[in-house]
Subunit: 338 residues, 2 copies
DNA sequence: ATGAAAGCGCTAACAG
DNA sequence: CTGTTAGCGCTTTCAT
């Protein structure tokens, strides 16, 4: 490995001079600058940023901890973060909590051990409103941006998230504008804050339109296409005469739509279906799905910008970004009944 | 920040003693061990792995450079890598080349500057058969595992990839076994090694079956669903009387199938369609798509294992993993004509 | 079983 | 414009 001192020896100058040249500080003669630069280049010198960091007290390292980097809910966020981090001249440490609390703690402690200057965290859900690790993170002075909804134990950090309730209510309003009055909702797991917000948006839109939430129209579905199909089967069995179905996410919506189409229902002529999330499949679906597009990449960029501000010592407040409705073929004017 | 010396002071011992305790070396009395441990815990000590690395010459850092972490072709690989790396006690630096050569060089140099001990690389395609960066990487003694096909300028590294030609030929054989004799192929960009291998597999299977590749049945499509639709339109216009269509990937296959269904063709009764890649949508598609599943996660695990061996100084050879055919509803027995 | 000295590669602070 | 000294937090080596 080529070190500064190796270059210094060959160039007949001190280590300091070489250091200064390579950092391009002023107060160095053009002659030595050129000579040293050429030598460094030729010898294949690559600075040791960690050794430098030890001295300068900045590591140039940020870390991101997410449940799973392959999860479509986070890949684009991580991609955007990577982009920001790169642009800032930092490097990004990535690790996966796999949704497990203990594992998340390991990831966080490793980030602390590397003296990461900042941390992007998509937190694992905990029942306990307090968590020691987060105190440790705070004590270390690590800047933190929470990705997504902020749990109680992350109270002291800023976060960035899509305004899910708002977007979900827009989806409902879209159906209302199309004349639908009996809109079923296929709800997700009650523990998920995200699923909560989406249901809240649905309720809000109905209330605004002067309609009450009819419990007979709310079905506990889940998260998968099978869950959606199952819930829809129940919906049909209960004969609730809905003219539209709003689902907590695209998979559930597609599961529902699949079943309906297989049973001979026409979408959207007889029944409208809307999802949430705009997963890649939603556009390619049998009936291109009306859904809500999450600004994932934008969320990542926003998180990156917030981190930059935090690192500069500025005070930063949490942000909500609007999600947008994508109207496709699966929603249309209300018919008489289903 | 709590340092060893801080603990030493409070415990009334030397820094060395604390260091030894925390690394759990022998030759330390149980008493001091307990005392120091308690103190470290209580003071919230987190070792500085970079300072340690400076001394011990190992950084505990691996890096992965891919075009884009949000690309479904790599997310699961990165996820698996992260898993391996974590298990090995290393940390993972992630960066994106965005498919640009200069950017990839920046990413690689940064990994070198961090003294990453190993590098997972999904290389950007270059025309030039040589590339200085890779020489630099080699000179630094960084262990490298190439993800996917290995270009000329990565000749000296090992790689791990799916046996695409083999899998593609299995897809073709599947159609041949169903009685198809006129199988069209929607090819991808000729520059892509992946697209090449898949076409090669198709040809190989035909040859094995004693059939020649009929140029009239090979269409230049591309990579997207639109490309697939366009090529299929041409296919229909040219009236080539194919009974099956094999596509270079799932998107192209789905684009093709969409068009066919919209034109009133029944799949698979009148025409079979097979894709490649098993993207999440393929299963949820109008006609669940027969396709080839890439063992992405397995590729990642294999790459991780190879890296581990390289780090131990063992010699490692490149690996090919089998991809498997997933027969779904879009392929069936050959009919008379299309 | 414990400690003192030295140094990993680099740069801040102070000379000259 | 260039060099010297010291030290970042840790561990290796050698002593006791």
């Amino acid at each position: 490995m080529v070190r500064l001192i190796d270059i210094a020896g060959r160039a007949g100058v001190s280590v300091m001079t070489v250091s200064r040249v390579l950092r391009d500080t002023p107060d160095i003669s053009a002659a030595t600058k050129a000579r040293v630069r050429a030598l460094a280049q030729q010898m294949g010198y690559v600075p040791d940023v960690m050794a430098r960091g030890l001295r300068t007290r900045n590591t140039g390292l940020l870390a991101v901890v997410v449940p799973n980097v392959a999860d479509p809910a986070v890949t684009r966020i991580v991609s955007a973060l990577d982009e920001c981090v790169h642009a800032l001249g930092y490097d990004l440490l990535v690790s996966q909590s796999l949704g497990r609390v203990e594992r998340e703690e390991v990831c966080l402690r490793r980030a602390l051990a590397r003296r990461a200057e900042g941390l992007f965290l998509y937190p694992v859900y905990r029942l306990d409103p307090a968590a020691r690790v987060f105190d440790e993170v705070e004590r270390h002075g690590t800047k933190v941006v929470v990705l997504g909804p902020k749990p109680a134990y992350c109270e002291s950090f800023v976060n960035v998230q899509a305004d899910e309730a708002q977007a979900s209510s827009e989806a409902t309003s879209h159906l209302l504008e199309l004349g639908h009055r009996r809109i079923a909702f296929l709800a997700g797991p009650p523990t998920s804050p995200t699923a909560q917000s989406r249901f809240e948006g649905y309720s809000r839109a109905l209330r605004r339109a002067g309609l009450a939430v009819d419990d007979a129209l709310v079905f506990h579905a889940g998260e998968t296409a099978e869950d959606g199909a199952k819930a829809t089967e129940q919906l049909l069995a209960e004969n609730v005469s809905a003219t539209a179905i709003q689902a907590v996410n695209d998979l559930v919506a597609m599961g529902a739509a699949h079943l309906l189409l297989d049973r001979g229902f026409r979408i959207p002529e007889e029944l409208s279906v809307v999802g949430y999330g705009n997963i890649p499949c939603s556009e390619l679906f049998r009936v291109p799905l009306t859904t809500v597009r999450q600004p994932k990449y934008q969320l990542g960029l926003a998180a990156g910008a917030m981190m930059q501000a935090l690192l500069r010592g500025e005070s930063v407040s949490s942000r909500q970004l609007p999600a947008v409705l994508v109207a496709r073929a699966s929603s249309g004017p209300a018919s008489s009944r289903a």
